[in-house]
């Protein structure tokens, strides 16, 4: 049932212990009369990956797993569950907790309806390559959150993983444009990136609206670029770097790079340190006269 690929043996035992405790805690939560379900992870049928799992009773809690393949972000299911009456248990690792914090801040779920179990994560593994997942290389947890329980101190693991992605900043403008054209042309506009994103909780996406009609639906490269650019800007300052968009993309578009570059710029230009970490307002929803404005020839 347990697939650690790069995680060393000693840590593997540690993960297994955590899994046991996760199941105990979830089962105990599900004994509560007001408990609806506990959202965590289970192994996929081929046992190569994990997927979200909604445990409804203590027996089902035994299907929950915790290991270095727990990529999905359980917090992203919460907005659509906000009308449910009762308590929802949810297991979160650092990146998920950042998303959860943003969701609570944006009124998408009420803290009082949640039982939050914090899991100290030591880095996830990419099931295809066996290497540490790229998002974990720049992880900024522990995240400050009022967890109901945790499986240990929410500390930052000392991961010294280099970014393996193409260095976009080193590219010329033309090269970068060519890179993104090629990358975004793979998109088939299936919307998986949008639907899996914790931050895409608008009741109706502007790309679905017919009046006003924000976007054409021709599906050509211009449309694809428009879609991804708007989405990236929309998430600037809210993206918590969980990379679920890239994982969900069936065509392998490097959406993680797109969002990451916006996060980098936010840090560089506005000293904005990433969503879900502080109580700073989302970047693009604030205005300060000291904001740099290089586009209009202002101070860099």
């Amino acid at each position: 049932m347990f697939h650690a690929i790069r995680t060393p043996g000693r840590m593997r035992d540690q993960l297994k212990d955590m899994q046991t405790r996760l199941r105990e805690i979830a089962a105990a939560f599900l004994e509560r009369p007001d408990a609806l379900f506990f959202i965590g992870w289970e192994m996929t049928p081929d046992e190569k990956e994990t997927r979200p799992f909604f445990a409804r009773n203590p027996r089902q809690a035994q299907r929950l797993v915790w290991n270095d393949l727990c990529h999905p972000n359980p917090a992203s299911y919460l907005p659509r569950l906000r009308d449910r009456e009762g308590m929802i248990g949810v297991a979160v690792k650092g990146c998920d907790a950042r998303a959860l914090r943003e969701l609570i801040r944006a009124n998408q779920i009420e803290r009082k309806n949640l039982f939050v179990l914090g899991i100290p994560c030591t880095g996830l593994v990419d099931p295809n390559t066996g290497a540490i997942a790229s998002r974990c290389a720049e992880c900024q947890y522990p995240v400050d959150f009022d967890y109901d329980e945790t499986l240990g101190p929410m500390e930052t693991p000392a991961l010294t993983v280099e970014r393996s992605a193409p260095d976009l900043d080193a590219m010329s403008l033309q090269q970068r444009r060519a890179f993104w054209k090629q990358e975004l042309d793979k998109c088939i506009r299936c919307d998986a990136c949008r639907k899996i994103c914790y931050g895409c909780y608008c009741p109706e996406c502007i790309f679905e609206m017919s009046d006003p009609k924000w976007a054409t639906n021709r599906g050509d490269l211009a449309d694809k670029i428009f879609y991804h650019a708007v989405r990236a800007y929309h998430l600037a300052g809210r993206c918590v770097g969980c990379d679920e968009c890239a994982r969900a993309c069936p065509m392998g578009v490097r959406l993680d790079l797109l969002n990451r570059s916006l996060r980098d710029h936010a840090k560089e230009m506005f000293s904005f340190d990433g969503a879900g970490i502080t109580d700073e307002k989302p970047l693009l929803r604030t205005f300060s006269t000291e904001d740099p404005d290089p586009f209009f020839g202002g101070d860099e």
């Binding site: 009308d83 944006a106 009124n107 998408q108 608008c202």
Partner: protein, 569 residues
Amino acid sequence: MSRVKVGVFVCHCGSNIGGTVDVPDVVEYAKDLPLVHYSEDNLYTCSDAGLTAIKEKIKEHGLNRVVVASCTPRTHEELFRRTCEEAGVNRYLFEFVNLREHCSWIHMNQPQEATCKAKELVRLGAAKAARLRPLEIARAQIKPACLVIGGGVAGLSAAGSLAQQGFEVHLVERNDRLGGLTVDLWKLLPGDRPASELLHTLTARVTKNDNVTLYLSSELNEITGFIGSFKATLSTPSGKKDIEIGTVIVATGAVELEPLGLYNLGKTEGVITQMGLEKMLSDGRKDLGDVVFINCAGARGPDREYCGRLCCAVSIKNARYLKEADPDARVTVLQRDVMAFGTEFETEYRKAMCAGVRFIRFSPDRPPTTIGNDKVTGVRIYNQLTGEESDLSANTVVLTTPLAADSGASDLAQMLKVPVDKDGFFLEAHLKLRPVEFATDGVFIAGAARFPADIGEAVAQGTAAAAKAAAPMFAGEVSVEATTALTNPRLCSGCATCEAVCPFGAIEITQDRHGRPVSEVNAVMCKGCGACAAACPCGAIQQLGFTDSQIFEMVRSLARDGDPSGSEG
């Protein structure tokens, strides 16, 4: 909805537009635009003849959208809107195209290009006009009652003035007595009148008028609502009290800064502040020996950049009193420069110097220091003009500190949803144009709560705020702009971004019937600035009169028809 019929009226504006733009050509062009049913040019559309033409053509052609392409909406939009209204077309079905300032004046030397641009501007205006929807002006009833927060000089002046005009006034004072800081003052400039005399007059106006309800030792707990109908809860010694008022005047004043430690204030006996001195003087103590005043104490530095404004006058006043009371005492004022504005204060300055008060200028780079361990014995001063350092003997050192914002101001500001500046003072709507108003309708500001003010200014501002507050209360109602923001609850995620960005406190997150958070715009409080519409991540807020679909129609019109080859836009 009946079919859209747009009428386009292009103005020559004498030669202002007509001298550059080929107006008849623009009119011909407008005739072929989608949904345009009529188009004509006028020498002056704003003239009687022009306005009559608009009304006649509305009737004759059944026009239900009107576009005027002329000078500027700043001066003429209201005129044309009214004209439409008179002809039975909703005033918001009018669209202004600014041909003079956006086109003819700035392209005076390129008539051909200007004509081309004029056509495009008219096309955009007509495209938007076709999507305009009638809007209704909301009116709010104004309850003729005012809440005055603060019973100092400004608050008393405001309350007295309103009460005399017959309005119901609720005056709330935190302390157990009226008068604010003035209570502790001895004599006032000019004229050396005792402060108590002035206070007596001001207080009597308030306490003897039945229109005023006085709440001493009371504070404002909560306030909701908007111009015309605020609901406030006061905590009074006899418990909570709910009141309803139409307007609010903030006159909470300020406090004297007490920079403990500065010049050994609070550490060495004999180092006091001006308020301390005033109290002593009021108590009849004048035997203070040699006195050194140190001005700009705690002001005009890195922590507090502003000038206290009245400090110089205060030190001039008190230095003279002391010198006059004890001519043998050495009275010295250490100053960075003297701000004795106006002839009255200039005269006071002279009188002090004639009385024998010494004024020595120091530099903030080498500030004076007090001498003496337990009790102050002197002040070491580097005289900026002579370049010499010397020691002055002093039995008393008086620090002239500025007035500072009350620590409670920011809470009050949050409650009223009005801004404060970086020093914590309340911020008015416009320094020059709207000095006693907030941007939020129905809330006004007077006195030192805004910025250090002397007694005369506080009285003037209190009276001015009362006049401003009285205007809507006399009218009994206000009409509010219809081009406000509107939330589409179906699209709203309830994320409260709008609430955070609204500068007028006009948006509230409420719950819909399913208990979901949803944004609600208060049309009376909304000023139509559009900040929320721009910030809304879901596209759920529309700015009426500038809706996305109206703007898109303009963009689409520009993109679609802008390229005569008809290639993809």
